[in-house]
Amino acid sequence: MNAALEVVLRSVIVLVSFLVLPLVVGQMEHKVMAHMQGRLGPMYAGGFHGWAQLVADGVKFVQKEDITPRAADRWVFRLAPAVALVPYLVALSVIPLSATVVAANVGAGVLFVLAASAVGILGLLMAGWSSANKYALLGGMRAAAQLLSYELPLVLSVASVALAAGTVSLTGIADAWSPLWLLWQLPGALVFLIAAVAELQRSPFDMPIADSEIVMGPFTEYTGLRFAFFLLSEYAGIVVMSLLFAVLFLGGWHGPFSDGLGPVWTLLKGALIAVLIIWLRVAWPRLREDQLQRLAWLVLVPVALAQLALTSVWVVLSSR
């Protein structure tokens, strides 16, 4: 009974943070992007600097009509937002904020997170294929090509960290972290960051939704709450990838007073990465489709492989 209660409690906490953190990141994007462009961003909703803008947006989305195109593959079309959203919820549940603050401490946490977040791609493919719309189909194909290309450098750079720590547990990797990692895992970290931004389909890698080319890609036909779920999954993805980056490459809860302030450090580092991801969107233009593939296969994969080789040599030499 007690164990069941604990499971429920942990699930509720994960669900609440899953609903709150993406909104925080979204609001941060509103404000940071606005000020980077010399604007103020939302100022009215909620009174103080428009803090409730995304809540108001949510209320607006709920009120909108839920349209399913007549030619659409009905059930696939309606299921796709959930398939895109839920994997990030699952992934978030195993990301530790400190050695003890973790909803579900999975042994092979790294594999679990990567596998779960890769499922989200299916949601985009389903949406693109079932919409019966040429733009949605193009976007879906672009998403598939992009996510396939960038999954590899992502996994390779994570493998390097796992190799360096000698474990695939997220808490184990963060515990094995030392400030020296910032230096000799730097190429892998950069590859992970670029690949993560591409996985999230954020600018400058937003060709699948490229609204100036193919309307909104797979989301073209979506309205109301289902469209909002896709947007939410994007920001949930930022949260997951930022926290993952903080845990894998920035040492998570390592920092002054890490005994008491461990989770704060993880969240702070994650927020820093989230701001960086937002910053890239503001500063950089979109890549072309062939440039995207070129970057993945000719730059990121070789760099990630070199990092993996460097790490294995280091591990072998230092374990002697």
């Binding site: 940071v32 606005a34 000020h35 103020l40 890239l280 500063a283």
Partner: protein, 188 residues
């Protein structure tokens, strides 16, 4: 991959793409650190320059119904109705006088393109630019301002801007400052 192929695929920038990317990051970061230029309009009134073309005000007393404005208006959005009134002679045996009476003066701001030709062309300074701009309506027909409404804009017309330093004095002031002609001396 050879360098030749590389230069074909990449933008024609000799130093590669990295400096441009860093420059983009630096520019956005610098903008983030600076205060924004946004004027929060409904909360703070905008600082409008003098001679702002907000709405056209009518000083009815100056209007002589000459119709110049209505005829010059490029989109014919000025409506003027008038009639002549005969004033009885003020002195016995005098002549009766006629004068124009303005019945209707209306500007349809749903048609007006704010060119200001009517104001330029008015010989009697009956029309003026006012900087007021908050007269949006739900119904487009309500944008037809009759002369009473046009007259209400008159208090919002700013005084004309001061002359440039060192410019010549206006003709009216020059004329007023001329020494009065001496009275002819009385003959002995």
């Amino acid at each position: 991959m050879t360098d030749h192929q590389h230069s074909q695929a990449d933008p024609p920038n000799e130093r590669g793409v990295l400096p441009g990317l860093l420059k983009g990051l630096a520019t956005t970061a610098r903008t983030l650190a600076r205060p924004t230029h946004t004027a929060e309009y409904p909360d703070a009134q905008p600082q409008l320059p003098p001679r702002t073309r907000g709405v056209i005000a009518l000083l009815e007393e100056n209007c002589t119904n000459c119709m110049l404005c209505a005829r010059e208006c490029p989109d014919w959005c000025i409506y003027i109705d008038s009639h002549k009134e005969t004033l009885p002679a003020t002195t016995p045996g005098g002549r009766e006088r006629q004068r124009n009476v303005l019945d209707r003066f209306a500007i349809d701001f749903s048609l007006c393109m704010y060119c200001g030709i009517c104001i330029e062309v008015c010989p009697f300074d009956a029309l003026h630019w006012s900087p007021e701009f908050e007269y949006a309506e739900v119904d487009v027909l309500d944008l037809l301002h009759e002369k009473s409404r046009l007259g209400q804009w008159m208090p919002t017309v700013p005084p004309p801007p001061a002359l440039d330093p060192n410019s010549a004095e206006p003709a009216e002031i020059t004329a007023a400052n001329k020494p009065a002609r001496k009275a002819p001396e009385a003959r002995p």
